[in-house]
Amino acid sequence: MSQLSTEEQEISDWADRLYEAGTSKQPIRPLTEVEPNFTIESAYKVQLKNTARRVAHGDVVVGHKIGLTSKPMQKLLGVSEPDYGHLFRSMQFYSGNVIDFPLVQPKIEPEIAFILKEDLVGPNVTILDVIHAIDFVVPAIEVIDSRIADWKIKLPDTIADNASSGCYVLGTRPFKISEIDIARIGMVMSVDGSMVDTGSSAAVLGNPLLAVAWLANKLFDFDTTLRARHVVLSGAVCSAVSLQSGQRFQARFGQFGSVEGQFQ
């Protein structure tokens, strides 16, 4: 067995624990509680370790998600920029599906999803570059989840845990970016027919296109890029809402359509 440095060993151990927590559905204590000095850099390494593991098991990276895109969320975690996670083929559902994905303590968040037609390579990606690279836009609901007990997450905890991703549901009526006023999409979310929250796409850094540009530039630091046909979930349009199995959920975005699903 090859000799790992202490840091590499630690990263590998945390990746194992988080992966195990997901498969056993037994959430673990926060990394930052056990290791108060756990860095953001190490946290992304943990995330990449488990990304490689899923790929080795046959799953495919089909895009990225952006988290912590609203001022209230950033203030809550004491950060000033978003974070990101990986989206896998196994996580993808479509509006109307029953969601049979294994989840620990899921919450739902309505989002705007972008599907790219060309690679988007940082650094210095601008809003105009993003507009050029977008094939189409669909409404989406992200099912976020945490392998950390009671969602007691700090920034390194959520980053290591693939930005608290679970799975996601895409709408099936695509729009061209020129058809919609992307920073002004109103949204009404319901659970089992009762309205639970409302929001606007302006909640995402003031404009979801800014979040995509941020992601493209951030990925440059990690030596990866956004690929043609990849999905980008740009960030929550309102606060996340906890859901139980059997519950139905719906997000209506006015003329931009709607997305719905039901937990198994």
Binding site: M187, V188, T198, G199, S200, A203, C238
Partner: protein, 256 residues
């Protein structure tokens, strides 16, 4: 207990900018009906001094606010001419701890009354809708109150502004109309019209049903603020607020 003396206390608090203890702490037996009577007696003092009733406001129209006060129903307050801001700025002078919330206002061309009013009746009587912002200001210490207190305090009404441009009532789907509020350039609140009782038009129905119980109505020319679409945002002198209403333009407010 003398309801007039409670109304006088509130009038003094509102006009002299003095924080008050909760009236329910001073008079534990007050009912919701008493509270509405106090509200009217207090507003009558303004009217005696030359002010005018220009419309109504709805409060506690969101689930979140109803939960925070522990009620299932909205409340109403009275809008006075003196609360209507003539330009897109207001002074914190005369206010205790002001907060701003984005709303949709309905402007009426016909009278609307009766306990059996329907959604269709509301649309038929509505001449225009207009984006609006309300400055609320509880006269109670720390914005802390019970249902009875806030009703007596005119549903925290303080100031309001309506946009320059009006729209026909069917211009946009108000339930899914997005709203974003920026404070000093940063988006701090977003929401959609459905935050108001699933649709702002339902707020008007609730209002008319409530005020018809005391023989009141919405008169032609009146404005009604239907209720906050996002949480209220605290402001201090120097803040600037920009509110965007999808399809209905925007409002800017400078706090002096």
């Amino acid at each position: 207990m003398n309801l007039q003396s409670v109304a006088d206390k509130l009038y003094t608090s509102q006009t002299k900018v003095q924080e008050l203890e909760k009236v329910t702490a001073l008079y534990p037996g007050l009912t919701v009906d008493d509270a509405y009577t106090i509200q009217k007696l207090c507003v009558d003092r303004y009217l005696e001094n030359g002010d005018a009733l220009v419309g109504w406001k709805m409060g506690l129209t969101s689930k979140a606010k109803q939960v925070s006060v522990g009620v299932d129903d909205p409340i109403y307050g009275r809008l006075l001419s003196s609360m209507d801001l003539p330009s897109a700025e207001f002074s914190t002078k005369g206010l205790i701890h002001p907060r701003i919330e984005p709303e949709i206002a309905f402007i009426f061309g016909r009278e609307l009354k009766g306990s059996h009013v329907t959604l269709r009746d509301v649309w038929l009587a509505t001449e225009f809708i207009v984006p609006a912002a309300e400055v609320i200001d509880s006269r109670f210490r720390n914005f802390s109150f019970t249902l009875v207190d806030v009703i007596a305090d005119n549903a925290s009404a303080a100031r309001f502004i309506t946009g320059d441009q009006v729209y026909s009532p069917g211009h946009v789907s108000l339930a899914e109309m997005g709203v974003s509020l920026r404070k000093n350039g940063e988006v701090v609140q977003t929401g959609a019209g459905a935050a108001v009782l699933r649709h702002p038009v339902r707020s008007i129905v609730e209002l008319v049903r409530m005020i018809s119980g005391i023989g009141e109505s919405i008169k032609p020319g009146m404005v009604v603020l239907t209720g906050g679409i996002t949480e209220a945002v605290s402001v201090v002198r120097g803040d600037w607020i920009d509110i965007d209403y999808t399809g209905l333009g925007s409002l800017a407010l400078q706090v002096r």
